[in-house]
């Protein structure tokens, strides 16, 4: 389907499928159109072209309430004039369910999310994390065909976000629900997603499992966007029959890196990508690329060396075998089988 707002094309002819019970992540930088996809599926927007099917039936002409989907908004969107109980019961009441049936359902959802003691409170008397749970509860209690999550954890602090992430994964396993989850946080995407759809500027860049997205990025955008710290990228022109990558003023030994010279690439513009954890500090101080340590970023569990190599900034994870200080000269090696090559922005195999 496609979606345009006036002259702006938000989604350009995208297509993907989510299996029953699958946890699917829409990942991309802000403004890539990922939230628009959710809104289209929910019926809050109409597609400019194309169709949306749920259980093999077209839904794109149905009103939101006829689609049987639940939406969890980034800023919760609880009904401020209702208690938590009424917030959860609202959708069930609209369906004409009797109070005798609603009570147990609401209590069950509240028990699952551990918000039973909050049922009589109003949203403004709740903390951010509690509001988030209520928003989740409002979705769960309906047992919809699809859960749509629009960056539900982005307003929480880091600790709470991490624990909610785990809880969401657990919840998904227990409910076996079909979930479509939008985020720009790759850690969230990689831990939660069974399937990840990476988007950029309204087009799908790659669809795959977390490991595929990470280890075999389909293009430069995915390689750059997924992974923290970012993948090191060396862009330049292939020279000397494939032996050398001329990167600004630096001549990088391409043949040495790949353990063979890709002669077919001679004269082409190539980008070589190496993830920080795929670099190793060379014992002899030489390595494939060498430079001076500019900064050491110690995250506790990991330590990253920021190295200045002739004007190229390289980040490498340090195996902690040796101790370094800023100003030390070191050389770095890379695993040849873990090097990524991008020709015209697209991944190629060496």
């Amino acid at each position: 389907m496609s979606k345009r707002f006036g002259a702006a094309e938000i989604l350009k002819d995208i297509s993907f499928e989510v299996a029953d019970g699958e946890f699917c992540i829409l990942l991309g930088p802000s403004g890539c159109g990922k939230s628009t996809i959710l809104r289209l599926i929910a019926g809050l927007e109409q597609p400019s072209a194309g169709k949306i099917l749920i259980d093999d039936a077209r839904v794109d002409s149905l009103a939101p309430r006829e689609r049987d989907v639940a939406f969890v908004f980034q800023n919760y969107a609880l009904y401020p004039h209702m208690t938590v109980f009424d917030n959860l019961a609202f959708a069930l009441r609209l369906r004409g369910m009797s109070m005798n049936d609603i009570g147990p359902k609401v209590k069950e959802a509240a028990r699952l999310l551990e918000i039973e003691e909050l049922l009589q409170r109003r949203p403004q008397a709740l903390s951010g994390g509690q509001r988030q749970r209520v928003a989740l509860g409002r979705a769960i209690v309906r047992q919809p065909r699809i859960f749509l999550f629009d960056e539900p954890l982005s307003n929480l602090d880091a600790t709470l976000r991490a624990s909610m992430r785990v809880e969401l994964a657990r919840l998904h396993r227990r409910l076996k629900a079909t979930i479509l989850y939008v985020t720009h946080d790759q850690a969230e995407a990689l831990t939660l997603g069974e399937k990840i759809v990476v988007l950029d500027r309204g087009t799908i860049q790659q669809i795959g499992r977390a490991s595929e997205i990470y280890h075999k990025p389909a293009n430069l955008m995915v390689g750059r966007f997924v992974g923290s710290p970012q993948m090191n990228l060396f862009a330049g022109k292939v020279d000397d029959n494939g032996a050398i990558l001329q990167c600004n003023a630096t001549r990088l030994d391409l043949a040495g890196l790949l353990q063979s010279a890709p002669a077919r690439l001679a004269g082409r513009s190539l980008t070589v990508g190496v993830r920080p954890e795929d670099f190793h500090v060379a014992d002899d101080g030489q390595g494939w690329i060498s430079g001076e340590i500019d900064l050491i970023e110690d995250l506790g569990s990991d330590r990253f060396l920021h190295v200045k190599c002739d004007g190229i900034h390289v980040v490498a994870r340090d195996g902690r075998e040796r101790s370094f200080g800023p100003g030390d000269r070191i050389g770095l090696h890379a695993d040849s089988e873990r090097v990524h090559l991008f020709l015209d922005g697209k991944r190629i195999e060496p």
Binding site: A42, G43, L44, A63, P64, R65, R67, V69, A70, F71, F73, N75, A77, L78, Y79, P80, H81, F90, A91, L94, R95, R138, R142
Partner: protein, 271 residues
């Protein structure tokens, strides 16, 4: 300490400045005829209720109160219903001319009444609506709808769109979302708009004077203004009637005070 004392004094001064004429009116209404004309004037009345009795019995005050209640009540109700629907549409739907339209509303609400009095009178005359409740109510609605719509629009804009979208997904139709979620949240604004319209219609004099020439349908301001006879100037009865005319407004404002304060300050501070 000194500053706050000065502030209190200043506030009391302002309040007195505003209230003294009204206080004088109330005191006058409680005097006897002799006290009213005494020279030098007496400040404190003897709390005589004669003027109230006279206003009610000889001048048919309750009849005017009834007319005013019907006209102001109907005006406020219809204006708020129409204004809410218009404001909801302006606030929610992305229409091309929204801002221009809002500006136009503001301009229209600034028209001096005298400029439209002639046409309004002619229209009502053709409709044979002169000296009818619907005639005056229609004129009042036309006068207050632009400003009410403007006020209500700012309130509807304050209700986050996502809350309404949540309601739509939860199973509401557009109208259900409006009255189950949006209206309760915009209640302070609706109350404020309704009260402002009611007060305006209750106090309005000029249109009421030219549209309602028949005493059986006249509203309070016109009725009271026509108390003086050819040879009499019943100050006491006028004061008593004016006091009675003020009571409903004071009561309404006190009852809904909190809502109005919330309403008038909305947009200035995010709740």
């Amino acid at each position: 300490m000194k500053r706050s004392a000065a502030l209190v004094l200043f506030s009391v001064g302002i309040a007195l400045y505003c209230l003294v004429p009204f206080l004088w009116l109330v005191l006058t209404s409680l005097k006897s005829s002799a006290e009213l004309t005494a020279i030098p004037p007496k400040l404190m009345p003897s709390f005589h209720l004669g003027f109230y009795r006279s206003a009610l019995q000889n001048y048919g005050l309750l009849h005017y109160v009834g007319n005013s209640a019907i006209v102001a009540g109907a005006t406020a109700l219809i204006t708020v219903v129409l204004g809410s629907l218009a404001a909801y549409a302006i606030a929610r739907f992305k229409l091309k001319w929204t801002n221009f339209y809002l500006l136009l509303l503001l301009v229209v609400s600034m028209f001096p009444q005298i400029a439209i009095a002639g046409p309004v009178w002619i229209i009502l005359d053709r409709l044979q609506w002169l000296n009818t409740y619907q005639g005056l109510v229609a004129a009042y609605i036309a006068l207050s709808l632009p400003l009410a719509t403007w006020i209500l629009t700012t309130f509807f804009r304050e209700v986050p769109g996502e809350i309404e979208e949540a309601a739509l997904i939860d199973g509401c139709s557009r109208l259900q979302a409006l009255y189950k979620v949006v209206l309760p949240l915009a209640a302070p604004g609706i109350l404020t708009a309704g009260l402002l319209v009611f007060i305006h219609a209750w106090n309005e004099f000029f249109f009421a004077l030219i549209i309602m020439t028949d005493p059986t349908v006249q509203t309070l301001p016109v009725g009271i203004a026509l108390f003086p006879g050819e040879y009499t100037m019943p100050w006491g009865e006028i004061a008593a009637a004016s006091t009675i005319a003020t009571i409903p407004l004071v009561l309404l404002t006190l009852i809904f005070q909190r809502g109005i304060v919330r309403g008038l300050s909305a947009g200035a501070v995010k709740g």
